[in-house]
């Protein structure tokens, strides 16, 4: 069993007081809160001021056909406090047709490439991101391959890639 980080009850209480129900839950010692997408940026500002100075990761889960899921995309923000070693997982949900959340690059510079990766692989648009380009897939790519409706074998996008010959390179 992994180590259980120190409790974050006061932080959760502060969030709940300001933003209403944040649906706190604990699984294997990890505390998670859900923040509505409209107030996500303000909530992250509050959390940064509460001492969560390290952004560990930004990622996303596509809950298409997942049991009991209410939203399609669930973003995951893993925060840590380097002084007290507290950890907090923040969930922000988004839905089709235009999944958009606020970018947190103004708060943590480390979010820059992590958000680019989520945009690349899931097609979540981060409003206010300074440079929202694809990170790992080529620029000509049209799909977002980590979505659950994208097949493992691909859809043949590579057949449309321009072929560069020695004469034209």
């Amino acid at each position: 069993m992994p180590h259980t980080p120190p409790a974050v009850d006061d932080v959760v209480a502060a969030l709940a007081e300001r933003f209403g129900a944040v649906e706190p839950s604990v699984y294997r010692g990890q505390t998670r809160v859900v923040i509505p997408a409209e107030v996500a940026f303000e909530a992250f500002e509050v959390l940064k001021n509460q001492g969560f100075d390290l952004l560990v990761d930004v990622t996303c889960v596509d809950y298409l056909d997942y049991k009991g899921a209410k939203h399609r995309y669930g973003l995951v923000y893993l925060l840590a406090n380097t002084a007290t070693n507290q950890r907090l997982t923040v969930r922000v949900f988004a839905d089709d047709p235009d999944p958009t959340v606020a970018s947190i690059v103004p708060l943590w510079e480390g979010a820059n490439w992590l958000e680019r990766e989520v945009w690349d692989l899931f097609g979540i648009r981060f409003e206010g991101h300074p440079d929202l380009r694809r990170l790992v897939m080529p620029d000509e790519f049209t799909a977002h391959p980590l979505r659950k409706d994208y097949p493992l074998q691909g859809r043949g996008e590579r057949h449309n890639f321009p072929v560069i010959t020695r004469d034209h390179s």
Binding site: D53, N85, P145
Partner: protein, 412 residues
């Protein structure tokens, strides 16, 4: 010594030709195939003479959809893919992956397994730091230094080969245990390694630590302050060289680290030289950890019991008990496997390069619904343009080497 980006003054370039100051910049394409990138990554450097004005890193040349594959392979099969992430310390990735899986399942390992995993993870850290420090030496012109380091890496490969049959792609861990227990021969080889490697580290330090050329090439180059290191999510030796004391082995003791006595190597300068020193010191601390864990290796079974229904039972259990037979059958059949909660969790270890964690979503069966890898290399590569601005072209390789970017982990 931090050098500010140069001001562009057209008048200082002789008669006005009507050209704008940006026109004097030239662009250099560095990689994706270049000996000093070591792996497949690309930099587009904007240069003013020999000074780097800006760098645009580009990645994705080795992207092979590891996270997508993770949604289609079982927890035990996917360990072979994690080998190919940070391939200079594959066994640390194995440990990280199954550490996260066991966190999701709530599985408590046997104490022998915890110690064995600690030992192999620390051996992986030594082999990783030997290569990354060796490569910094190589890139700054110290070839002999690199060979000293690489010789000891061979010895570690030999230990892993004796342990699990594979030198490079070990795939050593399993859910709830490891694939092979330590044999007396493995322990003997690790003991012999522990005896010889301090001398190699001394030799390496004598070659480079006070070497005038090396110090001039690395000191004050690529300075990362503590605030920037935290703000830009740096972890591992890169952050510790900037004065961040965070080390998951101490701060969130996992496996057997809580029982062992070791120090966290830190520096405050934040330059390439500090990163080199931190890695050198971390290897010595790792040796202490391996030594203690090996001498206090607990006995008993290495895998979790049959009642947990996750690790394969031993052949003796299969042939002599009904629980063993059933458990073996259920775990081997394609449509059985073990049950996983509809839950999600994140667990990380202190990998050689920084915090390596996996965010796993379970959906009932033993294939992950989502297997996110938190790769330290991505966040360190994102630091690169920030670190290199204002330095010269020859500093590019020193900074790149000291960040220890592994493209396979970068692109996944």
């Amino acid at each position: 010594m931090s050098i500010a980006p140069p001001e562009f003054d057209v008048m200082s370039r002789g008669p006005d030709t009507g050209a704008r100051s940006e026109d004097y910049l030239w662009t250099l394409n560095f990689g994706p195939q270049h000996p000093a990138t070591h792996t497949t990554l690309r930099l587009v450097l904007k240069l003013e003479g020999e000074r780097v004005v800006d760098a645009m890193p580009e990645m994705g040349y080795l992207h092979s959809g590891f996270e997508k594959i993770g949604e289609h392979l079982t927890f035990n099969q996917y360990v072979t893919v994690t080998d190919r992430m940070n391939y200079i310390s594959p066994i640390a990735n194995n440990v990280a992956w199954h550490h996260a899986v066991e966190a999701l399942l709530g599985l408590e390992l046997t104490s022998r397994c915890k110690y064995i995993r600690t030992i192999v993870a620390e051996l992986a850290r030594i082999s990783d730091h030997l290569l990354s420090n060796g490569a910094v030496g190589l890139d700054t012109g110290a070839f002999t230094f690199f060979l000293y380091a690489f010789y000891q890496r061979e010895v570690i490969y030999d230990i892993f080969e004796t342990l699990c049959g594979a030198r490079f792609t070990n795939s050593y861990t399993r859910v709830g245990g490891v694939s092979q227990d330590f044999t007396p021969l493995v322990i003997e080889k690790i003991r012999a390694f522990l005896k010889t490697v301090p001398k190699t580290l001394d030799d390496m330090e004598r070659l480079l630590t006070r070497n005038r050329i090396f110090v001039d090439r690395t000191k004050g180059v690529g300075v990362l302050t503590k605030e920037e290191a935290i703000n830009r999510s740096a972890t591992g030796p890169v952050a510790r060289a900037s004065g961040v004391t965070r080390d998951l082995r101490k701060d969130e003791p996992y496996l057997a680290y809580g029982d062992l006595d070791f120090k966290v190597a830190c520096a405050s300068a934040g330059d390439c030289y500090a990163r080199y020193l931190v890695r050198m010191q971390e290897m010595r601390e790792s040796l202490r950890i391996v030594q203690q864990a090996l001498e206090n290796l607990p006995g008993g079974p290495v895998n979790v019991g049959i009642d947990q229904r996750t690790a394969l039972p031993t052949k003796k259990q299969v042939y002599s008990s009904i629980e063993g037979t059933i458990s073996h059958f259920e775990l081997s059949m394609a449509n059985r496997g073990f049950e996983v909660p509809f839950e999600e969790s994140y667990a990380a270890i202190e990998a050689p390069n920084g915090e390596l964690g996996f965010y796993i979503v379970g959906d009932g069966d033993d294939t992950a619904y989502r297997a996110r890898c938190r790769p330290p290399s991505v966040l360190h590569f994102a630091l690169f343009p920030f670190l290199i601005r204002g330095h010269t072209l020859s500093d590019v390789v020193a900074v790149l080497g000291s960040l220890n970017i592994i493209a396979a982990e970068l692109d996944r």
